[in-house]
């Protein structure tokens, strides 16, 4: 999958699962920061990240290893798309 396609899927997840207003999600770009506490971010907290991880697992068929620290992959849409593409890429 291309990062742009992944981004669109993630935006759908943000609207349907994380309950963001669709106008908000349409404004988000690859550069948008995700975690709460980062300036300009969309303010996701730990609960949101669990929901997001589960939705990603279900939508993209990948498995998140709970024992690993995945924080870096969730810093921005860019990082997250890259992570998802790398896990779903052809072997």
């Amino acid at each position: 999958m291309e990062p742009k396609e992944v981004l669109d899927e993630l935006k759908t997840i943000l609207t349907t699962r994380l309950k963001f207003d669709p106008r908000r999600t349409s404004e988000m770009t690859l550069e948008t920061a995700l975690p709460k506490g980062v300036e300009g971010s969309i303010g996701l907290d730990s609960l949101d990240f669990i929901e997001l991880s589960i939705a990603i697992e279900e939508r993209f068929g990948i498995v998140m290893d709970e024992s690993q620290d995945l924080t870096a992959h969730f810093a921005s849409f860019d990082a997250l798309c890259g992570f998802i593409v790398s896990r779903t890429g052809a072997p």
């Binding site: 907290d45 730990s46 609960l47 669990i50 991880s53 589960i54 709970e66």
Partner: protein
Amino acid sequence: MAAGAITPIGGDLDAFWSGLVTGTDGISRIERFPVDDLRVGRGGEIKKLKVPRGRVPGCRASQLLLAAADDLLARAPLEAPADRIGVVVGTALGGVEELERALEPDGRLRQAAGALYDAPAHALARRLGARGPVLTVSTACASGATALGVAADLLRAGQADRVVAGGYDILCRFVMRGFDALRSLTRERVRPFDRRRSGLLPGEGAALLLLARDRDAHGPRLGRLLGHASTSDGTHLTAPDPDGRGLDVAIRSALDTAGLAPSDIDFVSAHGTGTPLNDRIETAVLKRVLGARAGAVPVNSIKGGLGHTMGAAAALEAIMCLLASREGVVPHTLGLEERDPACDLDYVMAVPRAARPRLSLSTSQGFGGCNAALLLEGAAS
């Protein structure tokens, strides 16, 4: 004055205590309802629930509460007129299973009344013939502690002469699905303060104490409740405040109301759920509050063998503190084998410890930023 209980490690108070000191593991594969579709299907399930005799509601939560009440009444009579007997119980989920049943495709719609979270408390009041104040407290997993505090205040305010107080919660699909969705369940063991800890497991149970004002208490007593406080974090809906500020305030408030200082604490019964976050934050709070003595005060968590019994937890832990004083033994923290370097208090591990705490601190936390602290004094031996 006296207590009664029903738990995954023992069906009455004596069996509960015996289970604690023998390190009984009450965690098992859940059998009462389907769990195959869940990532984790284990918890502290009470396998053999002897439904109390007489007119008893079909609701499991009420049955647990009544079983604990029967255990209590077998040990101590209420000795007060009906309108002077109060009931205060804490619960996180109340009769939610009644709601599940009412909503089943083939289920009859039952009375809304049975699904409301305070229904079991009223079933208990009817069983006891209590016509004084009947309250249900729901500060999530701190409910049992808040309930005991409110009960003490009812007595102090002269609103009742005896109060039966404590907490309960049941294992049901609702709670298993919920904690599963939060990814807070461990697929392994519950290991409070252990460096390998990976989450909690829910449990079920009910625990009740008979409270009376000091001057009205006759005969043998388990101890005294000297202070209590319930406070708010105001930071996050499920995660505790990162600095544990709400718990810190609860402990200090409880000490203030009792006219005591941190240096008076001999033993801490921690909330110790076994989640990476809770145990670390709770340890940090205890170190701050206990100060220089922190390394010398024994600490335990009994959630390893019971699971997290939610509304019952704080009541069971309060009973454990008082029994520890009476028996001169502090139960160990089942599941703790390799201490987390960041959790460096004097946890009682591996085997029970010979010790007779005079003053115990019991701490609890719950969703919605709930924090509670109880100060319990053991009866003089």
